[in-house]
C-alpha cells in the first residue's frame, strides 16, 4: 500500500519538473551515488527520492548506481559524484578524504548491526556449525556483509577462505538473503537493517531465513562527500534536504518505506568500531 502511495506521489510531484524541463537544464546537477546499503532495488522508491530531492534542494538530482561499492567509492573519490550513500567501511577506509553529509536514524539511533543468517530450516546453532559450508557475502567493501564476519572469524583464529568450503559475493544485501533463502548458500552475512526491512516488506524471502548471530552495533551507512566539497552548495543543499525529510509529506513517505526515522548530521566517531576492526584485520594481514 505504501509503495503504491509513494509511486503515485512521485509521479505527481515529478510533473512540475517535466513542465519546467527547459529551465531544468539550467539547474545545477546534484549527483548522488547509491549502494545496496538500502533497498535500492525498489525503482518506485528511487523515483520518489529523486522527486523529493529535486524539489527540496533546487538542484537537478541524478541518482547514480553501480554494481559494487567499490565503483561508487571510486566515482566519489574521483569527484564524479557530489555525494554517495556508502557503507561505513569505505568511509573509514577513506576517512582522510571524506566527510559526513548525513547519517540515517533507524529506530531512533544512527546505528545498525550485521546479521549472520541461515536458511530457516537449517540445523546450525552457531557460527562453528557453518564450517565447511557455502557462504554468501554481500560485497568485499561492505562492513556488515563481509568485514564483520571476517573479523568475527579472526577472533576464532579463522579466515573465510579456509573456514568456509566456498564463498561468493552477491553485491547486494537483498541478494544475500535471496541466496540463503533459496539454499544456494548455507549461510550469509547481511546488513541487519536491510534484513529487518525485508522481513517486513518481503516476508516470503526473508521468512525463509533466520538470524543465527547478530553483531555489536556499528555506525549506520552514511551519506558522505569529498571533504573538499562538503561545503559546496549542492552538498549543503543535500544535507539540509535530508535532515528536513521528516517535515515533508513525500519525505515522510520515503522514510516510512525505508523504515527510517530521518537523517542527522552525524559524527565520524560513530564509525570508530568499524575502523578498529579494519585496523585489526590489517594488522593480521
Amino acid at each position: 500500500m505504501r509503495r503504491r502511495d509513494v509511486s503515485r506521489r512521485a509521479v505527481v510531484t515529478a510533473l512540475p519538473m517535466v513542465v519546467l524541463g527547459g529551465r531544468a537544464a539550467a539547474r545545477e546537477p546534484l549527483r548522488l551515488g547509491l549502494t545496496p546499503v538500502f533497498l535500492d532495488s525498489d525503482l518506485a522508491l528511487l523515483r520518489a527520492l529523486e522527486a523529493y530531492l529535486g524539489r527540496a534542494t533546487g538542484f537537478a538530482p541524478e541518482l547514480v548506481k553501480r554494481r559494487t561499492y567499490q565503483e561508487i567509492t571510486a566515482l566519489l573519490l574521483a569527484g564524479r559524484l557530489d555525494a554517495a550513500w556508502i557503507c561505513g567501511y569505505p568511509f573509514v577506509e577513506h576517512a582522510d578524504r571524506l566527510a559526513l553529509v548525513a547519517v540515517p536514524l533507524h529506530r531512533g539511533s544512527p546505528l545498525y548491526r550485521s546479521y549472520l543468517i541461515v536458511p530457516a530450516d537449517s540445523g546450525a546453532e552457531r557460527l562453528e556449525d557453518l564450517r565447511g559450508t557455502t557462504h554468501a557475502f554481500s560485497d568485499p567493501a561492505s562492513n556488515s556483509g563481509y568485514l564483520v564476519t571476517r573479523h568475527r572469524l579472526l577472533l576464532d583464529g579463522e579466515r573465510p577462505e579456509t573456514f568456509f568450503a566456498r564463498s561468493f559475493f552477491t553485491f547486494g544485501h537483498r541478494n544475500v538473503i535471496r541466496a540463503v533463502a533459496a539454499g544456494l548458500a548455507d549461510g550469509g552475512s547481511v546488513d541487519g537493517y536491510v534484513w529487518e526491512v525485508m522481513a517486513r516488506r518481503e516476508p516470503a524471502i526473508a521468512g525463509a531465513t533466520r538470524v543465527l548471530e547478530a553483531s555489536e552495533w556499528f555506525g549506520f551507512p552514511p551519506i558522505a562527500a569529498l571533504a573538499a566539497q562538503r561545503r559546496s552548495p549542492a552538498v549543503e543543499a543535500l544535507a539540509r534536504a535530508l535532515v528536513a525529510m521528516p517535515q515533508d509529506p513525500l519525505g515522510r513517505e520515503i522514510l516510512a518505506v525505508l523504515d527510517l526515522d530521518g537523517f542527522v548530521p552525524g559524527e565520524p566517531i560513530l564509525y570508530a568500531g568499524i575502523a578498529a576492526m579494519r585496523e585489526r584485520l590489517r594488522a593480521e594481514g
Partner: protein
C-alpha cells in the same frame, strides 16, 4: 453352430459391422498419423522454445561462468525461470568445466560445488539436441558455454513436458471419441439403409413361402410400383413364374382327373364284361329252373350255379367299388387288394388273348396305403397289357424284398421307349404330352409312397416294378 458362422449373419448386421470396422481401421491409421505429426510438431516446438531459453540464459550466464560467479549464475537462471512462456523448467544447472555445479535453479537439490550424479548426467545429450522421456514426462537439453574456443562450462536443463503429454492424451481421446461416434453413426445409418434396401426381399420371401402350403400368390402391382426398379423387375419375374407354375399345376390336376375318368371308363367296360359273363349262364339257369324247377336235383344244381354266378358278380362289383370310391389313407394293404386287380384287368387281357401269370407271395397286412399301391399296380398292369402283342403273356409278381414291397409286372411289349423311361425317372417335370399319362401317374404315386418305379429290361419286353418301403420294416440299403 452354423448361426455363429459369419456367413450365416444377416446382411443388415454384416454391412454396418463392415462399415464400423472400416471406420475403426481408418480412424486408427488417421489417429496414428495425427498423433505422430502432433508429437513431432510438439517436440520441434519445444526444442525451439528450449533453444530460445538457452540462447537467453547462456548469454546471461556466460560472463558469470567465465568469472565463476555463483550468484550471477544463479540469478541468471532464477530470472529466466518465469520469463519463458510455454516452457516449464524443472531444473537448470550451470556446471564448471570440471563438472562441478556452479549454480542450479534448485540449489538444495544441486548444491554449489557438488558433482552431478552420473545417471542424471547421462540423460543430457551432446549438442543442442532435445531428448524426450515421454514416460517420465521429462525433456533434457544441454549447451556448452564457450568463450571463443575455450569451454567455460555447460548449462543443463531438465524440462517438464507433462503439459505436452496431457495434450497428446487429450488429442488421442478426442480422436477416439469422434471416430467412435462417426463409426457408430455410420453403422446405424448402414443398418437402416440395408434394412430399407432389403425390405422388398421379405415381401418376396413371404410370397414364396406361401407356395409351401399352396399356390404361390403373385405380388400385387400396387406393391411392385413402390419398389426400386431392380426389385420391381424381380417381382414381375416372380409373378410370371408363379403364374406359370399355377397353370402347370392346374393342368396336371386336370390331366390326373381325366386319367382317372379314362381309368374308370376302362374299369366300367371291364366291369360290364365281368358282369355280363355270368349273366348268360344265369339266364340259362333261370330258364332251366322255370322248365325243370320241379326236379329237386336239377333245382339244386341250377341254384348252386345261380349262387356261384351271383357271387362272381358280387366280387367284381366289390373290387370296382373299392377302386372307385376309396381315397388314399383308408387302410393297410392286404394280399387280396393285389388279387382284386386281376379281375379288373382280366377283361382287357382276354380281349387281346393275353395270358395273365399271377404270383402273389404277400401274406397279412402291410403298412402301406392300399389305395395308392393298387392304383400304381393297376396302371402298370394296364400299361403292360396295352403294350403286349396279342396272344402273349403278362406276369405279376408281388413279394417282400429287403423290407420293401416289390410288385413287378413283366410284359412282352418289346421294351420301353426312351420318353417313357424319362417320365418314370422324372415325374416332377409334369405330365408328358401325347400319352404315357398312366406311367406318369404311377411314378408320381410311387414317389408319394416313398418309393419309385424300377425299370428292367426283360427278354422280349420290359419289366416295371413298384418298390415301396414298408413303414416299420427295417429297409436295407438298396
Amino acid at each position: 453352430m452354423r448361426a455363429l458362422s459369419p456367413r450365416a449373419w444377416p446382411m443388415a448386421f454384416k454391412v454396418p459391422l463392415f462399415v464400423a470396422l472400416l471406420m475403426a481401421g481408418l480412424a486408427l491409421v488417421i489417429g496414428q498419423v495425427v498423433l505422430h505429426r502432433l508429437s513431432r510438431d510438439q517436440e520441434r516446438h519445444l526444442a525451439e522454445l528450449a533453444s530460445a531459453y538457452l540462447d537467453g540464459v547462456s548469454t546471461a550466464v556466460l560472463p558469470a561462468a567465465i568469472r565463476r560467479d555463483v550468484w550471477e549464475a544463479f540469478e541468471a537462471l532464477d530470472r529466466a525461470r518465469d520469463r519463458y512462456r510455454g516452457i516449464a523448467i524443472v531444473v537448470a544447472i550451470v556446471t564448471e568445466p570440471s563438472g562441478t555445479v556452479l549454480a542450479a535453479s534448485a540449489p538444495r537439490l544441486f548444491p554449489v560445488g557438488s558433482v552431478l550424479p552420473e545417471p542424471l548426467l547421462a540423460r543430457f545429450p551432446d549438442g543442442d539436441r532435445l531428448v524426450i522421456d515421454a514416460a517420465a514426462e521429462r525433456g533434457f537439453i544441454a549447451r556448452e558455454l564457450r568463450e571463443g574456443e575455450i569451454a567455460v562450462g555447460r548449462i543443463l536443463v531438465e524440462l517438464d513436458i507433462a503439459a505436452l503429454i496431457a495434450e497428446r492424451a487429450e488429442v488421442r481421446l478426442a480422436l477416439v471419441a469422434v471416430n467412435a461416434a462417426i463409426a457408430v453413426l455410420l453403422a446405424a445409418a448402414g443398418f437402416w439403409l440395408v434394412r430399407r434396401m432389403l425390405a422388398p426381399l421379405s415381401i418376396l420371401r413371404a410370397h414364396v413361402a406361401a407356395g409351401e402350403d399352396g399356390a404361390m400368390t403373385p405380388v400385387p402391382e400396387v406393391v411392385i410400383a413402390r419398389q426400386p426398379p431392380e426389385f420391381a423387375a424381380l417381382f414381375r419375374a416372380f409373378n410370371r413364374t408363379a403364374r406359370a407354375l399355377a397353370e402347370r399345376e392346374a393342368m396336371a390336376a386336370r390331366l390326373a382327373e381325366e386319367e382317372k375318368y379314362a381309368l374308370l371308363g376302362k374299369l366300367a367296360s371291364g366291369l360290364a364284361h365281368e358282369v355280363n359273363n355270368p349273366l348268360g349262364g344265369l339266364f340259362t339257369a333261370v330258364d332251366t329252373l322255370s322248365r325243370h324247377g320241379a326236379d329237386p336235383e336239377v333245382r339244386q344244381r341250377t341254384l348252386a350255379l345261380l349262387r356261384r354266378g351271383l357271387a362272381d358278380i358280387r366280387t367284381v362289383v366289390r373290387a370296382s367299388l373299392v377302386t372307385a370310391k376309396e381315397r388314399p389313407g383308408q387302410g393297410a394293404l392286404r394280399p387280396e387288394d393285389i388279387d382284386d386287380l386281376r379281375l379288373l384287368v382280366r377283361h382287357e387281357a382276354e380281349r387281346k388273348g393275353i395270358r395273365l401269370i399271377w404270383r402273389n407271395d404277400l401274406a397279412g397286412e402291410l403298412a402301406l396305403d392300399r389305395t395308392m399301391v393298387r392304383q400304381v399296380v393297376l396302371n402298370l398292369l394296364l400299361n403292360a397289357v396295352a403294350a403286349s402283342p396279342e396272344g402273349s403273356t403278362v406276369s405279376l409278381a408281388a413279394q417282400i424284398v429287403d423290407g420293401s414291397l416289390r410288385v413287378t409286372v413283366a410284359d412282352s411289349g418289346g421294351g420301353l421307349p426312351p420318353w417313357a423311361r424319362h417320365v418314370l425317372a422324372h415325374p416332377e417335370e409334369g405330365p408328358p404330352t401325347g400319352g404315357g399319362l398312366g406311367l406318369w401317374t404311377a411314378a408320381r404315386l410311387a414317389r408319394a409312397l416313398g418309393g419309385r418305379i424300377l425299370v428292367e429290361a426283360a427278354p422280349g419286353g420290359s419289366r416295371l416294378g413298384l418298390a415301396a418301403p414298408i413303414a416299420g420294416e427295417p429297409a436295407l440299403a438298396a
